[in-house]
Amino acid sequence: MSINPFAAYGIEHLSPSSLNQFAQSPASFVLTRLLKKVAATGAPAHRGTAVEAGVSSVLKGSTLTDGVKLAQENFKTLVSLSDDPRVEKEFDAIGGMVEQGVMALKPYGEPTAVQEPVKLVVPELPIPIIGFIDFRFGNVIVDLKSTHALPSKINNTNHERQVALYIAASEGDCKGYLCYVTGKKHGVYEVTDAEQQAKALARIGVTLGKFLSLSADPMELAQLVIPDVDSFWFSNDAHQRQAAKEVWGI
């Protein structure tokens, strides 16, 4: 990529979430990141943030009771402007999820880093891919995912790519794991094809760069994609749905 197609849109770095969004729904990427029609965060994502804060505080020495309280307070703040009907359900699940997260990660000891920033420079891309490692225990990297249904194995490529980035961007020989927690159970699974998944992220980045290089006008790019309005990206958010109508007329 000889010139930087990302510069025209003020994009200074990529992330697993932005790349996965482009791969899943180019229309949503155009709408939110190029046309700046920002989507509000849903209650489940806020629950994830809160659970992570609670688990982190317990692993650093807080009691479980205090960790749960911290997570619940964090969640209340994060959703305090939300009208998401799932708020109550998510709040109720937090205590169990923090407890399961602690049970899963306690054996690794105290984390050497929490929310550690990492940056991967890919030769084919003019900007880096960045991320934040949830928990590092020496050369063991863990990304915590809270969910209401425990998978029996890693069944989400986006999650794998996330951990793959962390491994690729870390020095030395690291092992990466996905730790899934529900209110009652947990499962920790190793990401075994990190190299391939890191390459996939880079590939998506290159494709995104080529897409952006077609025009510096986001409305022109919008004409090259079309939203699936029944998808998660549009169906849960009246504002995104309306914005899609305005941009694409559907």
Binding site: V38, A40, E73, T77, S80, L81, D83, H239, Q242
Partner: protein, 217 residues
């Protein structure tokens, strides 16, 4: 309706400086400014021209009771501080934020508070945009316009109702206007208790001359 419903007092029914309000009516999708002068209350529709600097650095969230018959009861905390428990079942989730109106809308400091779900939806979306944008604009506040509304239909049959969620857009980022100063208020507690001081107090950000080319004088 009494003056108290149209004005917002410092604290929960306690005395203090009155800050006039702007109001978003989710049933009609209209924004208005409320004024009280010489014993007369007036409301001016500013939907089409609405533009204001939002003090999102100090937005307060929690619960509000607008149905007191007197001054609204606020149980709010600055975003990031622990949210106080709702003092009564009448307290509904809501927000309060100071805004500085553009000259076209009146050019003064106003308080904007609501518990309407449709309004919260719009503010939530706007606040998310603020949180993303402030990383590239540290220390600045957003100039916000009201561009549109989105119809939110709930219920079915006789219970079907439509509310209009505001679609706000951040037009640009500016330094804090001189007149936009946040002062923490008391927090309403259970009816039997006196209002308590808000736990987390943010130092008011030093006001800077508003030298932007826009009209927030």
């Amino acid at each position: 309706m009494s003056l108290f419903n149209e004005s917002v007092f410092a604290g929960a029914g306690s005395g203090g400086d009155i800050i006039p309000i702007v109001k978003y009516d989710a049933r009609s999708g209209r924004m208005s400014r409320s004024d009280y002068a010489n014993g007369e209350r007036s409301s001016t529709d500013i939907t089409r021209s609405f533009k204001a600097v939002f003090d999102f650095e100090n937005i307060e969230t929690g619960t509000i009771d607008f149905s007191t018959g007197g001054a609204p009861s606020f149980a709010l905390a600055r975003y990031g501080s622990p949210i106080p428990a709702a003092p009564s079942p009448s307290h509904k989730p809501g927000f309060r934020v100071l805004v500085y109106l553009s000259k076209e809308c009146g050019g003064d400091l106003r308080e904007f508070a609501s518990t309407a779900k449709a309004c919260l939806k719009g503010i939530n979306q706007l606040f998310t945009a603020y949180q993303q944008g402030v990383k590239q604009n540290p220390g600045k506040l957003p100039v916000v316009s009201l561009d549109d509304t989105v119809a939110i239909v709930t219920g079915e049959g006789a219970k079907k109702s439509t509310a209009y969620s505001p679609v706000f857009t951040i037009q640009k980022w500016v330094d804090r206007p001189t007149g936009l100063v946040y002062t923490p208020r008391a927090v309403a507690t259970a009816a039997t208790s006196a209002p308590s001081a808000q736990a987390a107090v943010s130092a008011p950000v030093e006001a800077s001359p508003f030298d932007d080319s826009d009209d927030f004088g």
